[in-house]
Subunit: 211 residues, 2 copies
DNA sequence: AATAAATACGACCGGTCGGTCTTCTTTAGT
DNA sequence: ACTAAAGAAGACCGACCGGTCGTATTTATT
């Protein structure tokens, strides 16, 4: 099966551009993502970008999708390799903090930055971000519900509330690690969720203290 | 004691501009705050603004200070009217959520928006925001420490961690309330902190369930 | 070898940005 | 009434923004 070299070349460019766009947007926002800068930093011409996306908004939407794919690879996929229940919840949170620690994106968290940027700006970009956020929340709640069903968390637990709390630890980590002391921040984020789960889980051996 | 009418006029204009700037920046960020738009929305000329602030950056810094003053009035001052200890911590958090519920600012939270906007952009604005955030964290930790000293929280409590958690509930509320269901979000934010404090406080009568 | 499609480019457009300059009005001090 | 200072206005600047257009280059098809 041969691939069309023209399409292959375009696809290569497209993903390279989007990776750079995710990086840039994590630091400067989806609005601060200037087509001129993006083109320059990639050694392409600005008009070359318009061959792939008709407008800045189309590029912004594509950038969001690329960020979702990265998040899926780096945070969700590793967590799904852990066994269902509280261990998976912990693995997800740990993968997220690891992602921040590794400084993968210059802005820390693409979603935190862009969601705050657009939460008061109606339009397709905001709608897409809200959709992504809703999906993420639903995923977190599903993981918590699974743990309840396995008996690893109390049956009368407020599932949505615990999901809210776990995500809150992550958001706060993204924000504080860039303005205050990063090490302290990450320690709080990790210890907080671990302590929370241990307090709720009847079987403490599922959640060892160690790193 | 008479005041200089010229200076008074300038002062009036200045606070009016800064109030509008805080509002605008809460929605569009400190960078999205365009001097032209700001001037138009106030019925003044753009060059009139430069008579008060030499540059956009100077205006941004003044806007931050104004937002701090508003926060002090609307969140910190009410909390300080509550008795020291866990009740004051709760009052602070409730005042914060009330502030979000009241939709005082179109963007929800000035600090959450701007701190995420600037956390990867070195410069005086970022430094000032980091300073403000550090002060806020220190204040929160002080309140928690006071509650420990009063015996309303365990002596071996990780003060900084609880302060981190309380702030995390607030940050998450600011973010989620604009993209997901606001009522659910606010309920989680309030119930979460309340449940957390009640679980730690030996005297449950200090923290009644009621609204 | 010729044609067509997908990429990419340089030049350019109207509009907006932050910022400057000159001018005019308002007000205080005398 | 006159002067000095502060506030505000409008015209204007260079830089950059998102976006368009015509054209050249690469590649697959025939």
């Amino acid at each position: 099966m041969t691939v069309d070299g023209r399409l292959a070349r375009g696809e290569r460019t497209r993903t390279a551009v989007l990776d750079a766009a995710v990086s840039l947007a994590s630091a400067n926002g989806l609005d601060g993502l200037s087509l001129g800068h993006l083109a320059d930093s990639l050694g392409v011409s600005k008009s070359g970008l318009f061959a792939h996306w008709r407008s800045k908004e189309a590029l912004q939407l594509a950038t969001i999708d690329r960020a979702v794919a990265q998040w899926q690879e780096r945070i969700v996929a590793p967590a799904l390799r852990a066994p269902r229940g509280v261990r998976r919840i912990r693995a997800l949170h740990e993968a997220r903090i690891d992602f921040y620690v590794a400084r993968v994106l210059p802005g820390g968290c693409f979603f935190a930055t862009t969601e705050f940027e657009f939460n008061a700006r109606p339009g397709p970009v905001r709608d897409r971000l809200a959709e992504v956020f809703a999906d993420w929340t639903a995923f977190l709640e599903r993981l918590v519900r699974e743990a309840v069903e396995l008996g690893e968390l109390p049956a009368d637990l407020d599932v949505a509330l615990l999901a809210y709390e776990i995500d809150a630890y992550g958001i706060a980590a993204a924000m504080r690690s860039r303005l205050l002391d990063p090490d302290t921040t990450y320690r709080h984020a990790r210890r907080g969720v671990l302590a929370r789960l241990r307090a709720l889980c009847p079987d403490p051996t599922l959640l060892p203290e160690g790193p």
